[in-house]
């Protein structure tokens, strides 16, 4: 797609969309949203970028290796955080009783492991969306060039 208008608008909009996505991820425990929704927003912004420019520009911003790493990393982080509670002598995925600091309710850095879980889920979901889209489009490009 080679459209100047789309590109300029995209360049303007994408940072704000990403900022909003990060806001939704990090404020999951304070306001509606959370890892899933925020991750999807961030992932959608990356897809939007790749759609408006091209795939190479998109994968320069987020390479395949990094995306794979983020994808596994988010899920692994979730499980490891659960194991931390177990090492502290509580059951898997325990939050308060395992001694994660709850902080003052209403602050950004509060509610212990929930903040961490949201971020992990956000990473996971965002990179999942990107990976899926890139691979689908990439496959079709290869397919078309071979024909």
């Amino acid at each position: 797609m080679e459209d100047l208008l789309v590109r300029i608008i995209c360049r303007l909009v994408v940072p704000f969309v990403q900022l909003y996505g990060l806001y939704v991820i990090t404020h999951g425990h304070l306001s509606p949203g959370g890892g899933f929704a925020g991750g999807a927003i961030v992932g959608a912004s990356m897809i939007l970028f790749a759609l408006a420019f091209n795939l190479e520009a998109g994968s320069r911003k987020l390479s395949h290796d990094i995306s794979l790493l983020m994808e596994s990393g988010g899920a692994i982080g979730f499980i490891l955080a659960g194991f931390v509670a177990m090492l502290l002598g509580q059951n898997f995925l325990t939050n308060k009783a395992a001694g994660f600091p709850l902080g003052v309710p209403g602050n950004l850095f509060s509610s212990g492991a929930i903040f961490f879980f949201s971020v992990a889920i956000g990473f996971k979901v965002g990179s999942t969306m990107c990976t899926l889209f890139y691979n689908l489009i990439e496959g079709s490009d290869r397919h078309r060039s071979s024909e």
């Binding site: 509606p32 949203g33 959370g34 929704a37 999807a40 959608a44 897809i47 969306m129 889209f133 689908l136």
Partner: protein, 79 residues
């Protein structure tokens, strides 16, 4: 109870759902499905579930549409 706007939204929802099934052009079907998701998101919000509304808007109206379009670009456009 049910207000006018709710009845309008629900009717539109049903129309969208039926249209998705009937449309032969898959690209149009995907776009109508995106509209369906958006109305669904508004409905969630009106029912007092903002979390689901945000997720539905981002996933249903945003990412799902992109993924469907990517899939259509790999296959045929019409049914």
């Amino acid at each position: 109870m049910t207000t006018g706007i709710e009845i309008f939204l629900l009717t539109f929802l049903i129309v969208c759902a039926v249209a998705v099934a009937y449309l032969k052009d898959l690209l149009s079907a995907v776009i109508v499905f995106g509209a369906y998701s958006l109305i669904m998101a508004i409905n969630w919000q009106m029912l007092g579930a903002p979390d689901i509304a945000i997720t539905e808007a981002a996933l249903g109206a945003g990412v799902t549409t992109f993924l469907f379009i990517a899939t259509i670009s790999k296959t045929r456009r019409s049914e």
